[in-house]
């Protein structure tokens, strides 16, 4: 009988994960405390066209790219004269399981099958669970989804309860847990017990699947407006959505397209707190995941995270919860598209950004997600109200996460706010160089520039602040 205490299981983590993803991550590590990210991505045995073919066989992708003419017109109504970029949206809710996550799951589950695993396990409270369940159903594999679901009073977020229902509808066994990061501990125990594949959100196969999204945006954009989009905005939490999309854009030739991240601002709420758990009205797409995963991607459930958003983010926008609910309602009222709120974080960002750009500019919002009971502005706001959160119309600038949700009383009050990219890069750098000598070699500098998406001057200055320097 193996020791199943927290410490003992976590100590076996590397061996369990190695068995459960069929990949030795040590081969990507280098002696100078860097690692070869592109070699990790190249471990996926398919090029992008082959990935798209596999997804096509699984009925994933080829979702419509929709011009939001009325949302664009609304932005122009409230923008300065001549401003108001065109907003397009990739209707990812049309995927099986209702979100872009089908792309992230498809290739992983396909690989699990090819490698001979009998089942797959995913640790997620998000749309990814249903995506893995759907793909496992399609390929005849067993599926377990591990969710953080309830607080200690067994009160559950309606959004997560709906995701549980969907996983079960698609044939998965759902393990529900109370609040805490030990979700990973429970997942490791299950991987060890079952010998199933770890369908982690953060493997190279998961991210390679999402590259198809960037690729399709470029193809469909050429048909719809005859050029590459100027901006693509991705809702950011764990970073895989943005990373995969950005890589796909580049592979399809859209190297000049700017990639913006967008997250709901949940500053001040602790993500592992039992008390705070039900005081947030978004369970994903928020800064509580987005910021830590951007500055420290390797905090994930695989030794090296293939989702490395800081390599690709040009700017990082934050939105208030009230603004995202407002734009979700507007999408229904003006475009006739009823979609889930969390995925509309990037749409709220696009609405704000569009007002600062000329009318000939093009923004693509790269996802929508399905909606339903629990996963909709009405139940999410009702739940917040029941948990003592003040809901009102007003100025979203006054919103305080965990205390109130303020829906803008006019569309002009949805504002573009930008996180300081320099501070994000410096936080990431601090961790990346912790084990390196004070003299940073040329190879290390190259790696750091890629990880931070920065120039050599910035790197040199930021290293100086940490008491290190370029050799």
């Amino acid at each position: 009988m193996k020791d199943l205490s927290y410490e003992a299981v976590m100590a076996r983590q590397n061996e369990i994960i190695r068995q459960a993803v069929g990949l030795d991550y040590d081969q990507f590590e280098k002696a100078d405390h860097t690692f070869d990210y592109e070699a990790l991505m190249a471990s996926v045995p398919y090029d992008l066209e082959e990935v798209c073919e596999i997804l096509d066989k699984m009925h994933v992708g080829k979702t419509p790219l929709v011009y939001l003419d009325n949302i664009t017109a609304l932005a122009r109504k409230v923008a300065p004269e001549g401003k108001g970029a065109k907003i397009y949206i990739k209707d990812e809710a049309a995927n099986p399981s209702g979100s872009f996550k089908a792309r992230r799951a498809a290739l992983s589950v396909y690989e699990a099958k090819r490698l001979g695993y009998k089942g797959v396990i995913a640790a997620t409270s998000g749309n990814y669970g249903a995506a893995v369940a759907a793909m496992a159903a399609k390929l005849g594999l067993k599926c377990i989804v591990v969710q953080e679901c309830f607080d200690s009073r067994r009160v559950g977020q309606p959004e997560i309860l709906e995701k549980q229902r969907k996983c079960e509808a698609l044939g998965a066994e759902v393990i529900q847990l109370s609040v805490g990061p030990e979700l990973f501990y429970e997942t490791l125990k299950l991987l060890e017990e079952t010998g199933y594949y770890n369908a982690s959100l953060y493997t190279a196969t998961a991210i390679a699947g999402v590259e198809s999204l960037g690729y399709e945006i470029v193809q469909q954009g050429m048909e719809a407006f005859g050029r590459h989009p100027d901006y693509v905005i991705a809702t950011n939490a764990g970073g895989g959505n943005l990373t995969g999309t950005a890589r796909g854009l580049r592979k399809a030739g859209a190297t000049e397209t700017k990639v913006y991240a967008a997250s709901v601002d949940l500053s001040g709420l602790h993500m592992a707190s039992d008390h705070d758990f039900n005081r947030k009205s978004f369970t994903t797409g928020h800064t509580g995941f987005g910021i830590p995963f951007t500055v420290q991607p390797d905090r994930s459930d695989v030794p090296r995270n293939a989702a490395r958003p800081l390599r690709y983010i040009d700017n990082y926008m934050t939105l208030k919860q009230g603004e995202v609910f407002f734009i979700t309602e507007s999408l229904a009222a003006l475009e006739g598209m009823e979609r889930g709120p969390a995925g509309n974080t990037s749409l709220a960002a696009a609405f704000a950004l569009a007002q600062t750009l000329d009318q000939d500019q093009i923004i693509v919002v790269q996802e929508t997600e399905y909606t339903g009971a629990g996963k909709h502005p009405m139940p999410q706001l009702s739940f917040a109200r029941d948990n003592g959160i003040d809901i009102r119309l007003g100025d979203p600038e006054e919103e305080v996460p965990g205390k109130n949700i303020i829906l803008p009383d006019h569309p002009s009050k949805i504002k573009a706010r930008f996180w300081d990219m320099a501070s994000l890069r410096k936080s990431a750098l601090k961790r990346l160089v912790a084990a390196m000598d004070d003299k940073i070699t040329a190879d290390q500098a190259q790696y750091l520039q890629e990880e931070l998406n920065c120039d050599l001057d910035f790197l040199g200055q930021a290293l100086g602040e940490l008491g290190k320097q370029l050799a």
């Binding site: 089942g119 559950g156 044939g171 066994e173 847990l177 501990y185 909709h376």
Partner: protein
């Protein structure tokens, strides 16, 4: 909590929810905040009850994918109770507002 639940008899074959204490309070990960550390990590899973049993007893269930799992039998519902919540007047206001601004209705 358990002793407040009515003592109910479930039959073999019933779909039920079982509970496990995955990590007792005090044995949680070092990184969890204080309020969370004071609570156990609880786990719930649904499955087909293997033998007749009463609420609160240790039982074995067979899950959706055929795994046999043991835990304490609970009365937690196995159906779905999440819904569309209460009507939220502020959302209706938003719909009216954006239509008025775009279509210049008064």
């Amino acid at each position: 909590m358990a002793n407040q639940e009515p003592h109910r008899l479930y039959k073999a074959g019933d779909l039920v929810t079982i509970e496990q204490v995955s990590l007792p309070a005090g044995e949680r990960a070092g990184s969890v905040p204080e309020d969370t550390a004071q609570t156990p990590l609880l786990l719930w899973v649904k499955g087909e009850l293997q033998k007749d049993a009463y609420t609160g007893e240790e039982v074995e269930v067979k899950t959706e994918i055929g795994r046999l799992v043991t835990g304490r039998l609970t009365n937690h519902p196995v159906n779905y109770q999440h819904n569309f919540g209460e009507a939220v007047a502020e959302l209706a206001e938003v719909r009216k507002l954006v239509k008025a601004v775009l279509w210049e209705e008064v």
